[in-house]
Symmetry: C2
Subunit: 299 residues, 2 copies
């Protein structure tokens, strides 16, 4: 369970340690020629990132008294998918990025072939984690987790969103299309993070609906805040190159709405997200804090 007393900074620090520890246990370095692959997976997966997806999963599962060691593992499956997508997005043929979380991107620290494979192996690792019997004795739960994660990672989720993002280099998207793009590219996995926490808590699909709506609003607010940070932020603090979308002529929430309306919109989404938690008491306070954090963060 989430400690009722966890403040958000404490919760973020705690989940970061747990995720690092879980990846460390999942990825022992083999003494054969696969060594470099595992080193690249560890390089990308350990010691970086806000761990928003594991936090959302663990915070949601905590509302329904799920054992924390189980929800942390499921959080690592979500983070595995997230990290794989970052490795592939950073490749020269995609965004060609040099820095991520303040260190060299995986293909720069190793090489492109190793980076492609490390992404692929982390993609598979996510489903290996979910297939494992320690996640749940209940195979319905395990199977529902797999469906939710596969949907969030495929055509109707991250991969589809990334394709739209590439297409955005050649055409100017309007606000509904940018919204759809972001719902696929980042929203789907954030929604899956909350949904999978609730699946672990054996919450029915119908009863998960307000939680999904919370996650949808948080995901959009998070993305608008990302666009604002990208527009106004500090590259050193962000640990990655900024303003690449503007340079590439891509439409963003900030370019379409202007910074002031974008900020208002993000604020409204956070309030709406919190309103979806109205049926829950203090056990949902961490989710409320996460919603506020999406627009208060500095990186």
């Amino acid at each position: 369970m989430v400690h009722a007393t966890d403040t958000l900074p404490a919760a973020l620090e705690r989940i970061a340690q747990e995720v690092d520890c879980c990846f460390d246990a999942l990825l022992p370095i083999p003494s054969d020629p696969r060594r470099q692959l595992v080193e690249a997976m560890r390089y990308a997966a350990i010691g970086g990132g806000k761990r928003m997806r594991p936090l959302l999963c663990v915070a949601t599962a905590g509302m329904f008294d799920v054992h924390r060691d189980v929800s942390v593992k499921v959080g690592c499956a979500l983070e595995s998918i997230h990290v794989y997508s970052l490795i592939h997005d950073d490749l020269p043929c995609m965004d060609d990025d040099e820095l991520r979380h303040g260190k060299l991107t995986t293909h720069r620290a190793f090489d492109e072939a190793t980076a492609v494979l490390a992404g692929d192996a982390l993609h598979a690792l996510a489903f290996e984690i979910l297939g494992s019997h320690d996640i749940s004795d209940d195979p319905v739960t395990r199977s529902d987790l797999v469906s939710a994660l596969a949907r969030a990672s495929g055509l109707a989720g991250m991969a589809g969103g990334q394709m739209m993002d590439i297409a955005a280099e050649h055409q100017i998207f309007d606000l509904p299309t940018v919204t759809r793009l972001q719902q696929l590219k980042t929203g789907a996995l954030l929604t899956a993070s909350v949904e999978m926490g609730a699946i672990l808590g054996r919450v029915s699909s119908e009863a998960r609906k307000p939680l999904r709506m919370y996650a949808r609003d948080v995901g959009l607010a998070f993305q608008i805040a990302d666009d604002l940070l990208d527009h106004e932020g500090d590259e050193h603090l962000a640990g990655k190159a900024l303003r690449k979308d503007a340079l590439a002529g891509k439409a963003t929430f900030v370019s379409l709405l202007g910074p002031a309306r974008a900020r208002d919109q993000a604020q409204a989404l956070v309030e709406q997200a919190i309103a979806h938690l109205a049926d829950h008491g203090p056990e949902a306070d961490l989710l409320r804090d996460v919603a506020r954090f999406t627009i208060a963060r500095k990186k």
Copy 2:
């Protein structure tokens, strides 16, 4: 069920049509900017390849009276993984291949970014298929299928084998290491094909053991035959570049054993594979034919 009268050529033709039809239904072209991604997935997945993995899955499931439409879908999940791995293996940063199944590789026909994403989306599609309730009412079965496929695709399977294959460019592997490499790179998914057919048939893990040993031997025979075809074959007939391993100085079964001993070894493995089916009657004839086909094929 597999028609008892299916000869191997008829069975190969039939499964090829079924797999194409299944991918066609799974991948409708969307009328949004994801269109190019789905076109690339269809380009790579439809109308090419021997469909050995779906055939092994369907032939095994047929021994245990599994509905053929279900085993074909699971076969498509296996083929999705296989096709994704071919797309990524062909990339410029990996094997840099121009031709596959007699047509341009996906990154040549589209572009590199689309090819990386098409591979990623096919990887996710495999798990979306397995998570679907039409595969089995029984969630234990669905969950066991996910575990088997994720293991075959990750570090302890295909991705790990591909990393060893890259490492083979810089060091000369001995026979046990080449054997291990091939068991990971191609053997794991072939074994999963048979195993997943048996899981659909609700065969216990213990009772699946001889089937796994059959698959292991068939997988090695298949790879030795591939090395022989690569050594002696016709590029036009193969539809891909040949003798790349020899040019790169990589050890293969043929370079380590010589063609004559390699051929004897493949023949012995086929006989051993068939011996593992001794407890089965004519319902296993298709698997016996597949074993013989691995070394009799011309491409």
